[in-house]
Symmetry: C2
Subunit: 343 residues, 2 copies
Amino acid sequence: MRATVMYEAGDVRVESVPDARLIEPSDALVRVTRAGICGSDLWPYKSMPKGDVGRRMGHEFIVVVEDVGSDVQTVKKGDLVLSPFLWSDGTCVYCREGLQSECLHGGRYGWGDVDGGQGEAVRVPKADGTLVVLPVAVDEALLPSLLTLTDVMGTGHHAAVTAHVKSGETVAIVGDGAVGLCGVIASKRLGASRILLLGSNPDRVALGEAFGATDVVRERGDEAVERVRELTDGQGAHSVLECVGLEQAMVTALEIVRPGGAVGRVGIPEHETTPTSIAFWKNANVGGGPAPVRAYIDDLLADVLEGRIEPGRVFDRTGTLEEVPDGYRAMNDREVLKFQIKP
Amino acid sequence: MRATVMYEAGDVRVESVPDARLIEPSDALVRVTRAGICGSDLWPYKSMPKGDVGRRMGHEFIVVVEDVGSDVQTVKKGDLVLSPFLWSDGTCVYCREGLQSECLHGGRYGWGDVDGGQGEAVRVPKADGTLVVLPVAVDEALLPSLLTLTDVMGTGHHAAVTAHVKSGETVAIVGDGAVGLCGVIASKRLGASRILLLGSNPDRVALGEAFGATDVVRERGDEAVERVRELTDGQGAHSVLECVGLEQAMVTALEIVRPGGAVGRVGIPEHETTPTSIAFWKNANVGGGPAPVRAYIDDLLADVLEGRIEPGRVFDRTGTLEEVPDGYRAMNDREVLKFQIKP
């Protein structure tokens, strides 16, 4: 089958690999209907050192089940299913608490003998714990938004949840990438009355406004902090969603959160340390991490199915599997916000 | 009147200063019945550079009201009252939310023209917002525990609250100082089923066990992390109270918190940065800061009055005002856990 393999920074290829197949009795073999390129896929695209073997890529996908192992109970051939960006057993102490991203027996796609999602087919481990059966047939118009539930929308939602977004309060979102824009949707959905989007790309902030951002802060660094203070009576935002992962973004997030407020950070941190005192002296809370999107799919799915939210609008280019390398290039050049794969 | 003044590291004196007096109509003039030396007073005792003027010290005190300004409504001459370690107006947006430590019009004792608490008398600004009238007469046996409500017990409680201590869960407390020991009391009071105290001073950990610690971890650094993991099935503690303020203590706290758990930090941070990734990858929450003890007095007072908690046991030496310089020395030498002043 064909699948995406990265060899080093800037070198990502679509090539022939061994066909995905069932190995464990708890596996499902699935055929990819839609997949996405994630912002986090750009980290190895920017920085992966050359190694002996390539790395299979992709962890956002909607699939149709082709076959299941003998232990699988909850999905069957022909089901349209979502996979979160991590697989998980659904039974360990963390899964039962709704923190499937910390599953004791889970893991990542594209590692070891587990396929990546940017390919024709995937072996999904722990299928009963991992996969969510969709209560609809393949619907072209809905697929992009459903696809976001595997990662980017769930991650924006996690930022909002860990930033304690509450009805009637003010939220600031650092970053106008796809996660930040999904953070706008999540904040509006949770009832925020004011949503400040910190970003400067005209197309992206326009989409943010369509999603519900009430104010756009185009400044950066100290000027952005100043602007947010002006917009919030000098106090800052109750909740701040840090959706970038760079040190400057985190410092900005800490500076603009109101005393007693909360920062939810979901940008994969590229920086080794964070200033200690900014949050301490104002009793600000810092939460977040890899999103337990498996837990959030149930919360968010109805809103997608009923059209109340349209996170799929973050996909501004669609291409075939063979076009994936150009998708990486275009996202890395910020020519494209997010690339959808239709194999 | 006599009061404590610090001139530089190691040089703290009790000397004659102008008598405290009412200045604003919202002030109260109070006479000190009991005061404490705080762990945070040791920071300037260790590091204060020599300057032109001394700094008035002390922010933990129980007092009897001598006089009030014309605007004061809620306290009157003769009342026995507690002051939190910060004064606050009680009416601003933060005070109304129970975060009086962020009061828009509040401040610190010993700064500007506001007296410190380690003296004979104090002008208390914003008396209606700041002071809490005690529903008891002076009771020698209760005074030490009541005194802890001005700072150290409220601070230990804040660590427990911001570490999300819950009934039936496991708590780890980093630091066997007076705040850490009050964190033990707070954790037990909130229903923790297992309380791991990280400390090595025999007298202090013994008091911690008397307060409710179920396990003592005497190791430090990596060995402490290893020991906590052994004691928690490899997972760490649901809640960790960081009661030291040094980088190694914070790193230990982040290492021993369970995925999805929370660290409440109340040790005044001496370190400029904190590692970013440890908390991120396990979705741990970090909260805390200066405790809004004004809000907590109402919660904790009944437990002190009815003898359910005895945080006053952290005071292991009592002396007169003139003995305060030796109290600083003894606390700094770790000869004394916490010094109580009976002026």
